[in-house]
């Protein structure tokens, strides 16, 4: 018989007590710090950008037509300047990726077939975006003159073949890293912070005092609740700081909950195996490494075999689901498998935990 009031009493004690333990604090704060660090270090944007400055004595449609030829390949920003010298200066300073000097009456002259002079200025070291936009000027001018292009050339940036494309290319390094850090955070809470709290109870023999009035399952349930609450607080804090809002909240929450419950099973199992919390703190890293590693392997575009191995770990499956939920895209086709992987590991963990508890009670 499990009594909720006993579980809550132990949980309240643990919540206050554990936060005063430096080892637990480290387990909570390190992954948060890593997530924030990744967030600040990595950029989301993968589309190249180009700033085009131009001087035109009269209104011209040239920028608008160039934009239509460039399409989505380059994110282009036009900026009109008062005179030619200022355009030259900005390009020379590499403050702009391209400069255009458009003479007076350019659009009309082009339309009349008079071949007016258009000056295109490139900076000393032209970027890909700069060259791409420069290449679009000629077809744009032809279009202004009313010439039908000999062929309609559609420029597409062809996606890499699945073998070569990485998830990072699709979601961006920042999102990938923060999702991996989320998995790391859950792993450290479940397999380091919570086991430390449990092992300390054994080490200091406070567990003996609890067992006088509560049962082992009640103690275990209280520790699991502590882990779930730590996750429920820390993961939103990480998302808040990194300003990442999952597109599919349901998948995100389901993944976080299932991964937490699964890893807490292993963490509590581990907590019952060590004699003292310092020993656990020291060796915990060895256990954590293979647990956290799959989170940072999934999406890197490593060989299939490695990716498959990573996917059979609950953290590998969880990372896939979190990446899927973080964007509008379906990056992985095996969502159900990932949930099943976590559930199977969770079942194994709790079966072992029940066995361990029954031995302890015997």
């Amino acid at each position: 018989m499990v009594a909720l009031y006993k579980i809550l009493a132990i949980f309240r004690k643990d919540f206050r007590d554990a936060l005063r333990d430096a080892r637990v604090l480290v387990a909570l704060i390190v992954p948060l710090g890593i997530g924030v660090f990744y967030n600040l270090t990595f950029e989301d944007e993968t589309t190249p950008e180009a700033t085009v400055v131009y001087a035109a004595a009269e209104q011209t449609r040239l920028p608008e037509v160039i934009r239509s030829f460039v399409g989505d390949t380059v994110r282009i920003t036009f900026e009109q300047l008062p005179d030619e010298s200022e355009v030259r200066q900005r390009v020379a300073d590499e403050d702009a990726d391209l400069g255009l000097i458009v003479p007076a009456g350019f659009d009309a002259a082009v339309a009349a077939g008079q071949s007016p002079e258009l000056i295109v200025l490139q900076p000393p070291s032209a970027s890909f975006a700069s060259s791409f936009v420069a290449a679009a000027v000629e077809p744009a001018v032809r279009a202004l003159s009313g010439q039908q292009p000999p062929a309609i050339i559609t420029m597409e940036q062809v996606a890499e073949t699945p073998d070569e494309a990485t998830v990072i290319d699709s979601v961006g390094l920042r999102v990938w890293a923060v999702m991996a850090a989320t998995v790391m955070m859950i792993s450290m809470i479940a397999m380091l912070a919570v086991p430390i709290v449990l092992t300390e109870e054994v080490e200091k023999k406070t567990l003996d005092a609890l067992i006088l009035i509560v049962s082992y399952p009640e103690v275990i349930a209280a520790k699991a609740l502590l882990g779930v609450v730590y996750v429920a607080v820390m993961v939103p804090v990480l998302l808040l700081i990194t300003r990442i809002q999952p597109s599919d909240s349901a998948i995100f929450v389901a993944t976080v909950v299932l991964l937490s419950v699964t890893l807490l099973g292993f963490g509590l199992l581990m907590g019952g195996m060590f004699k003292n919390a310092n020993q656990l703190n020291t060796w915990g890293g060895v256990f954590l490494l293979p647990v956290i590693a799959p989170a940072f392997i999934v999406g890197l575009g490593l060989p299939d075999t490695i990716d498959r191995i990573a996917s059979i770990f609950p953290t590998g499956g969880a990372t896939k689901l979190l990446l899927d939920s973080a964007t509008d895209q379906r990056l992985f086709s095996d969502s159900l498998t990932s949930f099943v992987v976590m559930a199977v590991w969770g079942f194994a963990a709790y079966a072992l935990l029940v066995w361990q508890l029954s031995r302890r009670q015997a």
């Binding site: 018989m1 004690k13 007590d17 200091k204 406070t206 609890l210 006088l212």
Partner: protein, 283 residues
């Protein structure tokens, strides 16, 4: 004994692998009694407490606390008992008050009970201090307070005064005595023969997992002590006389008639003497 037994142990055996910790002990403890359990380290004292408090299962035999079997009916026993552990197993990062509040919640007692007990053990002023700043004596008093949180019917104390200075040990003994007066049954294990002699209504001597003697301290001392007395005479001579010897009785009468006797001390022995006589070596 008049009162009904609140602890009944019959043929209790406990083995840890090849090691036999308890070799079939039997005893009973009456309601409101202070029962002392004495023995060397490893004699089986703590194992007996572990069995009676449901923290380990016996290999064979039976034990009942408050009429409930410790194996099959432990959930009914748990709210009725408490234990002062041999180790000072407190939450050291929490305050004394918070330590008691946790157990008040677990035993469904009002928080005012924690304040009441802190006052009883003289820790009201230190209630809001973290336990790691407490002295050993203060921690021990807090342990006693924690064990009283549920007003236990049976209070187990495992070496409650071990390592304490005489003043702190005295305070703990006074609390134990008060609890007993209020009707709590006390099961006490100790190494201190003086403590057992002072506190216990009955004591059991445990050696190698067996009870080798069980009676009131006075009866044990009488049974195993010497029936002699030391007489100090006016001329400062000390003379040993045998209480069962008619010649010695006449000599004593003569000395007394002549006003020669300054003091007479009976040599009834101590519990320590009794233990040595039974177990072969001192505690």
């Amino acid at each position: 004994m008049a009162a009904a037994p609140v602890i009944e142990v019959e043929g209790l055996v406990k083995r840890y692998g090849a090691v036999q910790a308890l070799a079939g002990i039997s005893f009973s403890v009456a309601e409101g009694e202070i029962f002392g359990f004495l023995g060397h380290n490893g004699a089986g004292k703590t194992t007996t407490i572990r069995v009676l408090t449901g923290r380990t299962k016996p290999t064979s035999g039976s034990a009942k606390v408050a009429g409930h079997d410790v194996v099959s009916d432990m959930p009914r026993i748990k709210p009725l008992i408490n234990l002062v552990f041999e180790d000072q197993n407190l939450y050291e990062r929490l305050t004394g008050y918070d330590n008691l509040i946790l157990f008040a919640d677990l035993y469904r007692q009002p928080h005012s009970r924690a304040e009441e007990l802190l006052s009883l053990v003289g820790l009201s002023d230190a209630a809001k201090r973290r336990v790691k700043t407490y002295s050993s004596g203060m921690k021990q008093r807090l342990l006693v307070a924690r064990a009283l949180i549920n007003r236990p019917r049976v209070l187990f104390l495992d070496e409650p005064t071990r390592g304490l200075d005489p003043a702190s040990a005295r305070e703990i003994r006074n609390i134990i005595r008060d609890m007993s007066r209020e009707g709590t049954t006390v099961f006490l294990t100790t190494h201190s023969m003086e403590e057992a002699d002072e506190l216990c209504d009955r004591v059991a001597f445990l050696a190698k997992g067996r009870i080798v003697a069980l009676d009131t301290p006075r009866e044990l001392k009488l049974r195993y002590g010497q029936r002699t007395a030391t007489v100090l005479l006016r001329d400062r001579r000390e003379v040993q006389i045998c209480l069962d010897d008619a010649t010695d009785a006449r000599r004593l009468a003569e000395w007394m008639e002549a006003g020669e006797v300054l003091t007479i001390h009976s040599n009834e022995g101590t519990l320590e003497d009794v233990f040595i006589a039974l177990a072969g070596q001192p505690l």
